[in-house]
């Protein structure tokens, strides 16, 4: 049997569409983990990136933190956190957030730094407050790059959130982990396919958000 047959068999088995181990449930769990981790990472990465980028300070410290974050293997971190904190949502969230913060932080910082300084100078000269300059002058122009940072973070979370299954949680990783354990390759391939599809959907979503949120004046189209 080749991969396509596995895919076909997995998705046509009606048993895979119901119950606590059904595709809707696992997909729902995976999406939830992804959204939670992305929200947390954005809550940390965006404000720090925006403010440091606006003032142009702390770039070196930032890239240090980001490199360190990238160097940490997600799986190792998961094992470590589980040993320290026991089973649960938190030990899963920590590696996912650690994974997602660096791309968000670094791209946001870079996006803010790359904004043309003359509109900022003009805004300051007309008496605009710094917070407004950040949100209404720099952010709209930096938005495409910032969104691309969020997008790569989201894609990485989608594929890495499979690790939740190793510590008895749900998500699409369940199929992969259980399938490997049971030598049920149909399940492994089915799970991997779902992860890939979810990643593509994420890409499409970000594309749509960029269409709506980025001004035509910045898109230049």
């Amino acid at each position: 049997m080749n991969v396509l047959n596995f895919v076909n068999a997995f998705f046509s088995d009606s048993a895979h569409w119901h119950g606590y181990d059904g595709i809707p449930t696992r997909l729902g769990e995976h999406v939830r983990y992804t959204l939670e981790a992305l929200a947390l990472a954005a809550a940390i990465g965006l404000p720090v990136g925006l403010v440091t980028g606006h003032y142009g300070r702390g770039g070196n410290a930032l890239s240090l933190v980001a490199t360190a974050g990238r160097a940490l293997p997600s799986f190792g971190l998961l094992v470590l956190m589980t040993t320290l904190l026991g089973f649960g949502m938190l030990p899963v969230m920590i590696p996912l957030v650690v994974l997602a913060v660096p791309p968000i932080l670094v791209t946001t910082y870079e996006a803010m730094r790359s904004v043309d300084p003359s509109p900022v100078d003009a805004a300051r000269g007309m008496g605009m407050q710094e917070s407004r300059i950040l949100l209404q002058v720099e952010l709209p122009v930096a938005l495409p790059l910032i969104l691309s940072g969020l997008r790569s973070a989201a894609i990485q979370i989608v594929s890495t959130a499979t690790i939740a299954a190793y510590v008895s949680l749900g998500g699409l990783g369940r199929y992969i982990v259980d399938g490997l354990y049971q030598r049920n390759y149909e399940k492994v391939v089915g799970g991997a396919t779902l992860v890939a599809v979810l990643a593509l959907v994420t890409l499409a979503l970000f594309w749509a958000v960029a269409r709506v949120a980025v001004s035509p004046g910045v898109r230049r189209r």
Binding site: A122, R124, M126, G127, R132
Partner: protein
């Protein structure tokens, strides 16, 4: 337009820069004990070579840069005493590349300050539309984004945005230096026209001495190190530069350029050599002049010709010699009149009214006499002043 006709309305001083020094953290002295009185409702130009401290001086006025020493008074009050946002909102700010907000449409760019001041969206947009007209922008551009405009148009938007909340003061830092000479001339003329209508107190930075002379009511020439070399009206700058640096900075043909400040209204015109297209043989023979100017039935100039080349009843406009560019007495300066005479093969300048109809002609010799007496009068003025 003769420059001497455009003087500030009130002789009051709006901004007083009092012995101000700016030393940057790295030790660079950008401005050194500069004192300058900036008159109300007129254009004061800061001019000088690159790095002489013009931008620094300008930015100290709206506190984008804080002086290391000295004070700046606005309407008698120390600018350090007022909240910085209030101060900046009372001063429009225009920079070299316009600095437009690329994510906002043209109307919304212009409406920025009114919106910041809490105006409603409708009112702010109506105001923006009004300003677009004032700075000569087509209303069709309102919904465009900055990248869809030419450099000159963007600069007009920059000026409109600075004027939106009707601030009494306008700070302009090399606003026209990134556009080509033709567009620049258009923008300069537009600024003079707007200034005639609005009477703002404008502080204008440029490194172009011709721009300074054209726009300034007062011109401050600065030299490297942030020193003031001379502060004078442009005509005085041209007639009596304070030192070799200023003289050198002014460049050549100072004498000719200075003629822009003398009106041509008092030139004595003659209509003797002016004949109509359907002139009779007597009309052609009567004037004792080497050249005759032929006019069309509406009185507009057609061209010059020697009398012997003209045949009564058969004057061919295409065979006449060019009359150059006529001048309008009262509006144009002696420089325009002289230029016109030099360009004409006859050596005579053609004077027209605002409708383009010939009011007379004047010889180079008469213009030369007018120049001599104007210079003599100018020197007398200086003696009185100094």
């Amino acid at each position: 337009m003769a420059k001497s006709l455009r003087q500030p309305e009130g002789p009051g001083v709006l901004i007083r820069i009092d012995s101000v020094t700016k030393r940057y953290p790295d030790g660079t002295v950008a401005v050194d004990r500069l004192s300058l009185e900036i008159p109300d409702r007129s254009i004061t130009v800061l001019v000088g070579p690159s790095g002489c401290g013009k931008t620094t001086t300008l930015r100290m006025i709206n506190r984008m840069v804080d002086p290391s020493e000295g004070t700046i008074l606005l309407d008698g009050e120390d600018i350090q005493r007022q909240p910085v946002t209030t101060l900046r909102r009372s001063m429009g700010y225009v920079i070299q590349n316009a600095g437009l907000f690329q994510h906002r449409t043209i109307v919304d760019n212009i409406a920025t300050v009114p919106r910041m001041l809490g105006w409603g969206k409708q009112k702010a947009r109506a105001r923006a539309a009004e300003l677009m007209e004032r700075v000569g922008l087509d209303a069709a551009l309102a919904k465009r984004y900055p990248y869809q405009l030419s450099g000159g148009q963007q600069q007009r938007v920059g000026v409109a945005r600075a004027l939106a909340a009707d601030p009494p003061v306008l700070l302009m830092d090399e606003p026209f230096s990134a556009v080509d000479p033709v567009v620049r001339k258009g923008l300069q003329d537009e600024l003079l026209r707007i200034q005639d209508e609005l009477g703002k107190t404008i502080i204008f930075v440029t490194h172009d001495i011709d721009e300074a002379i054209k726009l300034g009511t007062m011109v401050a020439v600065m030299r490297t190190g942030g020193h003031l070399a001379q502060y004078a009206p442009p005509a005085e700058l041209l007639s009596s530069p304070a030192d070799a640096f200023v003289e050198d900075f002014l460049g050549g043909d100072r004498g000719i350029r200075r003629l822009s400040f003398f009106p041509s209204a008092r030139l004595e015109l003659t209509s003797d050599p002016v004949i109509p297209l359907d002139a009779t043989a007597e009309q052609i023979a009567a004037p004792d002049a080497p050249y005759l100017l032929v006019t069309d039935p509406n009185g507009r100039p057609l061209g010059w010709s020697e009398p012997r080349d003209l045949v009564a009843g058969d004057i061919r406009p295409e065979r006449l010699l060019s009359y150059g560019r006529p001048f309008v007495p009262g509006t144009d300066s002696l420089r325009a009149a002289l230029d016109c005479a030099v360009l004409s093969p006859a050596g005579w300048a053609v004077a027209v009214d605002t409708g383009g109809r010939v009011t007379g002609v004047v010889s180079q010799q008469t213009i030369g006499e007018a120049i001599r007496s104007a210079h003599a009068a100018g020197r007398d003025d200086e003696k009185v002043a100094g």
